[in-house]
């Protein structure tokens, strides 16, 4: 490491080194001892009368403080540099890593809140159960279908972005108007659109459908139509999000490129395919990836409108976990379902990012 920015030459004495190491080891020992005591108390091995994990939290805070302090004691000026990052890293560890570890512990347990026996470790039983659970597998398959619909959303969003990027009348008005669905809560969309406008008897869409010759309109009655309706309502809400990202990308393209292509005699269609689309690829990939992440969390409109039906046709992983966890108090299994989903999402997103890396780089 470069010594250029070190303004003082620290004289780290062996005594100081010993003290620094003692601080770290002492803090760590205290943390481990407190956590072990807490665990033993929880497991019923000893009775310390602990009612919460707060002592362990306090021990962690003390350890974190000592660890940071010890960096300066051990490394002087170099240790102060570490302090720019270490507290943040410890904070992340406290808020992400620890809960994940605890969550994993819960996922590997048989824990139904109604059971008088409480929580019991059951290893990977929940995982094997999930892999054979027809409701979960059905929900996963539905998510594949829902995610595939993003390609259609992308095409529509791109079209709208192109329109709003063009010199049209009332452009600002349309930009705000197209954004309105995004501002609506999905719960509001469920009730206003799904439950009211598409109400099969008196809803305006049902009346329109009857006028158009569909005698008994049913928007959520058959599996295929219900799933398509969910896709449409979710798309209606989130297309504006993709659109606004794509619009920002379009506005960032230098006008000179289009003008040069025009001077060279390229047709509008050719200008789009040869100039606009390639330049928009990084933004497009980003918009699609973020949209996929949003889509994988789809739950609220499904829970409100169909509860996953008919026959599981619209069920999502999140809405199924919601039922398993909330309605059935099946905490261990519900947590494992969430973990499996998390792992699948991480793998899928990583693979997607790798696959699209070539197009994600800014085009020059």
């Amino acid at each position: 490491m470069s010594e250029l920015h070190i303004v003082t030459e620290d004289q780290i004495t062996p005594e100081r080194t010993r003290r620094g190491k003692l601080m770290i080891r002492g803090g760590l020992a205290l943390l481990i001892a407190t956590a072990l005591a807490q665990w033993a108390d929880q497991a019923g091995l000893v009775d310390l009368g602990r009612t919460s994990w707060r002592p362990t939290l306090y021990a962690f805070c003390l350890f974190a403080t000592l660890l940071c302090w010890a960096q300066v004691v051990l490394h002087g000026e170099q240790g102060k540099r570490t302090l720019f990052v270490l507290p943040a890293a410890l904070f992340v560890v406290a808020l992400v890593v620890f809960p994940l570890i605890f969550g994993l512990g819960i996922a590997m347990s048989d824990w139904n809140l109604a059971s008088p026996d409480g929580r019991k470790f059951n290893g990977l039983d929940n995982l094997w159960q999930a892999l054979e659970d027809p409701f979960y597998l059905n929900a996963l398959w539905n998510m594949v279908l829902y995610t595939a619909a993003i390609l259609v959303e992308y095409v529509i969003a791109f079209g709208l972005a192109l329109l709003l990027n063009a010199e049209i009348r009332a452009r600002k008005f349309f930009r705000v108007a197209f954004l309105l669905p995004l501002m609506l809560s999905p719960v509001a969309v469920s009730w206003m659109i799904g439950k009211s406008m598409f109400e099969p008897r008196f809803g305006p869409m049902a009346r329109l459908a009857r006028t158009l010759g569909w005698d008994n309109p049913s928007f959520f009655g058959s599996p295929e139509i219900a799933r398509a309706m969910m896709m449409i309502m979710d798309a209606w809400t989130y297309i504006p999000f993709m659109m606004i990202m794509l619009l920002a990308g379009l506005q960032a393209i230098p006008k000179e490129l289009h003008e040069a292509a025009e001077v060279d005699g390229a047709s509008p269609w050719r200008r789009f395919w040869e100039v606009t689309f390639p330049l928009m690829l990084p933004v497009s990939i980003t918009a699609i990836l973020i949209r996929i992440i949003f889509k994988l969390k789809l739950a609220d409109i499904v829970i409100n409108i169909t509860s996953g039906g008919p026959g599981g046709a619209t069920d999502t992983v999140t809405s199924f976990i919601f039922r398993e966890y909330r309605d059935r108090s099946n905490v261990g299994y519900g947590t494992m379902l969430a973990f499996i989903y998390l792992v699948l999402i991480v793998i899928a997103m990583t693979a997607l990012m790798k696959l699209t890396a070539r197009w994600s780089r800014p085009q020059t």
Binding site: S115, F202, F219, P310, G312, S329
Partner: protein
């Protein structure tokens, strides 16, 4: 009383102002003369109190306010004064967990208990929960050992979770003396509210499903003629059995609704889940087939916890629904996506369908909701019977007519937590507060005015009291009669008060949804899937403990 009922009375003139004024004048006269009455006449003081509180704020004088709740609470403080010294609970602090639905429940309790707090010196902290959050909050409190409340307002279905774990305090005799449990309607008497022979619950509400149907369908001569022409069995009159319900539903497919001019439909089964509560509606159909008068159990076998949900009785109920799904027009077009909220408030009350089963809300809303169009054509009865009943003991059908109203959810009660027993003063304070809320007179007021609670004592059905208070007697009798008959039915179906009962219901909804959508080959296969899922839940919660708790809830131990 539900808000809607009360508002309806205000709007539609169902409140009889003349009778109300008569009652008020009589009450005032009695109150004024009370001090002059000889000692023997003091026996009337109690009935005077009932008449007096029914004049607060006065039927027809708008919705009661916190001042009214406080006044009623103060007037009903008599039993507290008899059992507690003034200031006896000074320094005691209690925490009360309950609902805050529609500004009822806990909101009224605050007012009712204000004078109790002033008199006893105790103070109450409140935990208000939305209905949807209630189950999760209670289960988490139990599972994580974080019971941070001393008194809880709780539905009887949760008794397995709480009483079964010994988390509640046994009711002292002096409380039982105050609240007069003999006055409860039959189904709220033991074993409801009890566990292993001990009593824990102060009832404050009653719940059951009743059958609401359309009178105009059955007064319609064209329907009657067509029914006869079609060879329909028996006269064209309101169905009293599920077999008739199905026959009528099939017949009505393709007919025109006499009220709305839109397509007529039959019975409105909710085919979509409703957080576990939707299963009550299949139970409505199943209980007359499944609840044998000689057997208290009907959902599980009490010796093994083997589900009965796939026995021929339940399969018949599921098959009945599937039969109607197969008939085009028997149900409205989107019925597969209709939950009980839809069948009640978007279909039946909006003039769709011949009838449905529901809690008292539909009976009330039929005549009170702004969106209801069936106010003048709605009629009520107990749930339909069945022409045969399955005997689980013999494993055979018996060709005898069987009624079994579904006493769904059983109603709210107040329970004191066992943790208060560490401090006898606190425990007594908690029970005193619970007894005050479950008092006979105060509960009459809560039945008659918007509170979120329905009548649940036989004394609540003294229609002359309602009439004297200013209500229209015919309406009250019509509305409450179906409930009273269900409450006191000798073969009423009371759900198992075992831990996790809503888990069973919830998973059943998922499997039923698949069955109704045609993903299982038959009703039997659907029922078998439910039974398999129930076995899984029982094993997870603990079969032995479930058996013991189920037996205890049935009073078999």
């Amino acid at each position: 009383m539900k808000h809607r009922i009360y508002e309806h009375f205000l709007r539609t003139g169902k409140i009889n102002r003349r009778a109300m004024l008569k009652g008020a004048a009589a009450t005032a006269g009695l109150a004024a003369g009370g001090a002059l009455l000889p000692r023997g006449a003091r026996a009337d003081a109690h009935s005077n109190l009932r008449a007096e509180i029914l004049q607060i704020p006065g039927v027809g004088s708008g919705s009661p306010t916190d001042a009214d709740w406080q006044r009623v609470g103060e007037m009903c403080l008599g039993s507290t004064r008899e059992t507690v010294e003034e200031g006896e609970f000074e320094g005691v602090e209690l925490t009360f967990m309950g609902l805050n639905n529609q500004n009822t429940h806990n909101f009224l309790f605050r007012g009712f208990l204000k004078s109790w707090e002033d008199y006893t010196g105790a103070r109450i902290n409140w935990i208000d929960l939305a209905q949807a959050d209630y189950n999760a909050r209670l289960q988490q409190s139990i599972a994580t050992g974080t019971v941070d409340f001393d008194i809880i307002e709780m539905g009887a279905p949760f008794e397995g979770d709480v009483l079964g774990r010994g988390m509640a305090s046994e009711m002292p005799q002096w409380v039982a003396d105050i609240i007069d449990m003999d006055d409860y309607v039959d189904y709220l008497k033991a074993p409801v509210g009890t566990w292993d022979g001990k009593t824990y619950r102060v009832s404050i509400d009653g719940d059951c499903h009743t059958f609401a149907y359309r009178k105009d369908y059955y007064d319609n001569p064209e329907f009657a003629e067509a029914w006869a022409a079609s060879g329909g069995e028996g006269p064209w009159e309101p169905p009293t059995t599920w077999e008739q319900v199905n026959a009528h539903s099939k017949f009505l497919a393709g007919k025109t609704d006499p009220l709305t001019g839109l397509p007529a439909h039959g019975f409105l089964d909710p085919l979509k889940g409703w957080g576990g509560f939707g299963f009550y509606f299949l139970e409505d159909r199943a209980t007359p087939y499944a609840k044998h008068p000689d057997d208290p159990a009907w959902l599980f076998d009490p010796e093994t916890m083997k589900p009965r949900v796939n026995n021929p009785a339940f399969v018949q109920a599921i098959q009945d629904v599937m039969d109607l799904i197969a008939v085009e027009g028997a149900y409205p077009v989107d019925q597969i996506n209709a939950d009980p909220g839809t069948t009640a408030f978007q279909q039946y009350l909006a003039g769709t369908g011949m009838g449905l089963t529901w809690w008292g809300d539909v009976g009330a809303a039929a005549r009170t909701s702004d969106t209801s169009v069936v106010g003048d054509v709605a009629a009520f009865s107990t749930n339909p019977a069945a022409q045969r009943v399955y005997n689980s003991q013999t494993g055979a059908w018996e060709d005898t007519r069987n009624e079994s109203p579904n006493l769904a959810y059983i109603g709210w009660g107040v329970y004191v937590m066992a943790k208060t027993e560490e401090d006898p003063v606190k425990n007594k304070a908690a029970w005193s507060a619970a007894a005050h809320l479950g008092g006979k007179d105060l509960s009459l007021w809560a039945s008659a005015y918007p509170s979120g609670f329905q009548p649940y004592r036989n004394s609540h059905f003294q229609y002359e009291e309602w009439e004297a208070a200013g209500y229209d007697r015919d309406y009250i009798e019509d509305f409450l009669g179906a409930n009273l008959d269900s409450y006191n039915h000798p073969n009423g179906a009371i759900e198992p008060r075992i831990p996790g009962i809503f888990q069973y219901y919830s998973v059943a909804e998922d499997e039923l949804a698949k069955g109704y959508a045609g993903q299982y080959a038959s009703a039997q296969e659907t029922a078998d899937a439910i039974a398999a899922a129930w076995e899984g839940i029982t094993d997870q919660i603990g079969r032995d403990s479930q058996i013991a708790l189920y037996k205890a809830s049935l009073g078999m131990m």
